[in-house]
C-alpha cells in the first residue's frame, strides 16, 4: 500500500507504475472534505506500465470516478492513496508525483511509503476441531496504515503443520481435520512487510492450539451454518442435518433438535386430508417450516441440536435463523345477494353480472426479495332441498370425497391464486320441481407462499360468509322461477389468523340427492 498527503491538486500529476513482472490492478483514491468523501479510479497496469493522473484535469473536465462521483470544482487540498489490489501484502507498485508551478517554474517530486503489518496471529486460538470433520483456521494481522485487522491467510498457504498428526492434520489452506480426541498445536509461516520504515519483509510464525472433540455441525443446503445467522422467510423449507463423528466405542443414545417459534412439518393438500403436517425433532435430520411470527414481524430463533452419547457427554451445536414474517395482513370483501339468473338458476351473485362475493387480501409490507403469491382455499357447508310437484322432497349435497359429506374443501386445492378471488355459487332449478331452497356457509382462507423451491403457504386470515335462498317455480312449461326469500349473514369481515385451515374431505361440483 502506498499513501501520501498532497497539497495543491491543481496542475499536479500523480503517477504510479508496476515494477513487478506480472500485470497488477492499481486502485487510486483521493480523499477530500476532511476525508469524508472519496474519488476512486482503478486500472490494470502491465509490467513497467505507468498510470498518469492529472488531478487538475479531473476537476476541470468533471471526469466521473468508477462510482460516478465528481471532484468539486473548488477543491484545493486533500490526500490520496494508491493500493495494489493484486499483490495485497508485498506490492509491486511504485509511486511518483510531479507538481508544475507555472509561476516559479518549479518541478518537485515525491515518493510514497509502504504500509506494513503487525499483530500477526491465528484467527481462532485454540481452534475447536470436530472429530472426523474439518475446521478452518486463518491468519490475521493489523494493517498499520488502515488501522484495521485484515485476513492475510494467503501469505501463509502451504506452510501449515500440526505437532501431532495422530490428533489432527492440516492442509495447504489451514483447514484442520480431527482424527482422535485430544489436543495438539498447529503452526504456519509466511512473509509479510513489517510496520517499520521501508517495510522490510519479515517471516512470521503464528501458531496456536487445536482441541479435537465430538462437535456436531448443523448443515443447511449443504453448508455448515453452525454459529451463524441465516435469513429465511415464513413458508420456506428448513431442512437441517447434523454432521458429527464419534470415537470408537461411543454410541448415540438419542439426538434431538430444539426449534422455537411456530412450526409445521408441511402443508398437506389432498382431497381427503388437508392442513398442517406433523414433524419430527428426534433424528439426525429434521425438516420444518416456520409459518407465523409474533405480530407478523421478523423474528430471531436459535436452533440447537443436542447429542446424548453413551459416555455421558451431551455435545450440541446451535445456529440462528432470522425469520421474515409476512407483515400484517388485512382484507375486505364485496358481497352480493341471491338472485334468479336466466330464469332457472338460483345464484349468489352481484348486480350487473358482478361476482357474488369478492375477496381481497393485502400485506402491509410484503417480505422484500421474494416473489410470493397469495393462495386461497375455501371450506364449504352446502345443502339444498328440492320439492317436486308430486312426491317427497329431496335433500341434496355436493358429491364429496369421501362420500356423504356436506362440509369440505370447495373443489381442488388451491381455490385460487392472486390477491383477490371470488365466488358466485349456483344451483340449477328443474322444471319438475316447484320449490328449491338452499343453505350455504363457507370460510374463505387467505394464505401467502414465498414461492421458493419446496415452500408452503402460510396462513394470513379468513372470511366467514353465508346465505340462504328459496325459489319457487312460476312457469313449469318454460322452467321460469322467482325468488321467494333470501337472507345473508352479517359476519363478512376479514379476520387475521395464523391458524391453518384443515379439511378431511372435498366437495365437488354437481349434486347427490336422497
Amino acid at each position: 500500500v502506498l499513501s501520501r498527503t498532497n497539497d495543491p491538486y491543481h496542475n499536479s500529476i500523480i503517477t504510479a507504475g508496476n515494477g513487478g513482472t506480472k500485470p497488477t490492478q492499481a486502485a487510486f483514491t483521493i480523499f477530500y472534505n476532511q476525508g469524508t468523501q472519496k474519488y476512486e479510479l482503478e486500472q490494470t497496469l502491465q509490467p513497467d506500465e505507468q498510470m498518469w493522473i492529472d488531478v487538475g484535469r479531473l476537476i476541470s473536465e468533471h471526469v466521473p470516478d468508477k462510482n460516478g462521483n465528481l471532484l468539486p470544482g473548488d477543491l484545493t487540498s486533500g490526500s490520496y492513496e494508491f493500493r495494489d489490489l493484486t499483490n495485497k501484502h508485498i506490492g509491486t507498485l511504485f509511486e511518483g508525483k510531479i507538481v508544475y508551478d507555472k509561476t516559479y517554474g518549479h518541478v518537485t517530486y515525491g515518493c510514497g511509503y509502504c504500509c506494513g503489518y503487525n499483530y500477526v496471529q491465528l484467527m481462532r486460538n485454540p481452534l475447536g476441531v470436530p472429530l472426523d470433520l474439518t475446521a478452518d483456521n486463518a491468519v490475521q494481522a493489523r494493517d498499520v496504515c488502515a488501522g484495521i485487522t485484515v485476513d492475510v491467510s494467503d501469505a501463509f498457504y502451504n506452510n501449515w503443520s500440526t505437532a501431532s498428526t495422530t490428533i489432527a492434520t492440516v492442509d495447504y489452506y489451514g483447514t484442520h481435520t480431527g482424527h482422535a480426541l485430544g489436543s495438539t498445536t498447529s503452526n504456519t509461516h509466511g512473509d509479510l512487510p513489517s510496520k517499520t520504515r521501508f517495510c522490510p519483509i519479515n517471516t512470521c510464525y503464528p501458531g496456536g492450539g487445536d482441541n479435537v472433540a465430538v462437535m456436531p455441525k448443523i448443515m443447511f443446503g449443504g453448508n455448515d451454518i453452525t454459529g451463524t445467522t441465516q435469513s429465511v422467510v415464513v413458508g420456506q423449507q428448513i431442512a437441517l442435518t447434523a454432521s458429527y463423528g464419534l470415537p470408537s466405542g461411543v454410541t448415540v443414545n438419542s439426538q434431538s433438535w430444539s426449534v422455537p417459534g411456530t412450526i409445521t412439518g408441511g402443508f398437506v393438500h389432498n382431497d381427503t386430508n388437508g392442513g398442517p403436517a406433523a414433524y419430527s425433532l428426534t433424528g439426525k435430520s429434521t425438516t420444518f417450516y416456520w409459518y407465523s411470527t409474533p405480530n407478523y414481524a421478523k423474528a430471531s430463533y436459535q436452533v440447537t441440536f443436542t447429542l446424548h452419547l453413551s459416555d455421558g457427554a451431551s455435545p450440541s451445536a446451535t445456529t440462528t435463523f432470522s425469520v421474515a414474517g409476512t407483515s400484517a395482513p388485512s382484507g375486505n370483501i364485496t358481497p352480493g345477494s341471491n338472485a334468479i339468473v336466466s330464469g332457472d338458476l338460483l345464484q349468489y351473485i352481484g348486480s350487473g353480472g358482478l361476482p357474488g362475493m369478492t375477496f381481497h387480501v393485502y400485506l402491509n409490507l410484503p417480505p422484500s426479495g421474494y416473489s410470493g403469491i397469495f393462495t386461497w382455499d375455501q371450506i364449504r357447508t352446502d345443502s339444498w332441498v328440492r320439492t317436486p310437484a308430486t312426491g317427497s322432497a329431496r335433500t341434496c349435497t355436493a358429491p364429496s370425497n369421501p362420500s356423504g359429506l356436506s362440509t369440505g374443501q370447495d373443489t381442488s386445492y388451491p381455490y385460487a391464486v392472486g390477491d383477490q378471488t371470488q365466488d358466485s355459487p349456483y344451483v340449477s332449478l328443474y322444471a319438475t320441481d316447484i320449490e328449491t331452497s338452499r343453505t350455504f356457509s363457507a370460510t374463505m382462507y387467505a394464505m401467502w407462499d414465498p414461492h421458493l423451491p419446496n415452500s408452503i403457504p402460510v396462513p394470513l386470515g379468513y372470511i366467514q360468509w353465508n346465505f340462504s335462498g328459496d325459489a319457487t317455480i312460476t312457469n313449469a312449461a318454460t322452467n321460469q322461477w322467482t325468488l321467494k326469500s333470501s337472507s345473508a349473514g352479517s359476519n363478512k369481515t376479514f379476520t387475521p389468523s395464523s391458524s391453518y385451515l384443515q379439511w378431511s374431505g372435498t366437495l365437488g361440483a354437481g349434486e347427490v340427492c336422497h
Partner: protein
C-alpha cells in the same frame, strides 16, 4: 340433466355478452414452473397464465382448475405419464351446482391458476417430462381449443 356448458352459455349471454371471435385468437396460455428440476419426493407446481388476446373485454368462468384445463404430461419417450387416482376419479361433466369464478379480462390482462401436476400424473420415476395444457374456447366465443407452450421438467432421485 342439463350440461354445465349450457348453463355457462346462458350466463354469458344474458349477463355478460361478449363478441364472437374466431377460435384460437381469444386468449393465450403460458405455463411455467418455479423449478425445472425437482426430486421424486417433491410436488410439481404448474402456473398457468391465461391472457386476453383480443382487443375487447372477455369473460370466462372457472369452476375447478382440474376441469377447466386439460393437462398433458409425456415422458422422454413421448409416452403419456401414468394417471393418478385423482385424475382417474375426476368428474367434470354435467355439474348442476357449485363454485363459479367469473374471470373478466380487459385486452392484455391475464388471470393465473395453480395446478399440481403431480396430483394428476405419477411422475415419481426419474425422467425428463414435457408438460402442456389446453383449455376449451366457450361456444359463444367460437369454440375450439387453445394450447399452451410446452415446458420440460426433470425429475431426479
Amino acid at each position: 340433466m342439463r350440461s354445465f356448458v349450457g348453463v355457462l352459455l346462458i350466463l354469458s349471454t344474458l349477463i355478460l355478452p361478449v363478441p364472437v371471435q374466431a377460435a384460437g385468437g381469444i386468449f393465450s396460455l403460458t405455463i411455467s414452473m418455479p423449478q425445472d428440476t425437482v426430486s421424486t419426493r417433491s410436488e410439481i407446481q404448474l402456473m398457468i397464465k391465461l391472457t386476453n388476446a383480443t382487443d375487447h373485454e372477455i369473460t370466462l368462468f372457472d369452476t375447478d382448475q382440474y376441469c377447466d384445463y386439460t393437462v398433458e404430461v409425456r415422458d422422454s419417450n413421448g409416452q403419456s405419464a401414468p394417471e393418478t387416482e385423482k385424475k382417474r376419479k375426476l368428474r367434470c361433466a354435467e355439474p348442476v351446482a357449485g363454485k363459479v369464478i367469473i374471470v373478466k379480462l380487459k385486452p392484455g390482462e391475464h388471470h393465473e391458476v395453480l395446478i399440481f401436476v403431480s396430483d394428476l400424473f405419477d411422475m415419481t420415476r426419474p425422467d425428463k417430462y414435457t408438460v402442456q395444457v389446453a383449455r376449451e374456447i366457450p361456444k359463444e366465443m367460437g369454440q375450439g381449443q387453445v394450447k399452451s407452450n410446452k415446458i420440460a421438467v426433470t425429475v431426479t432421485e
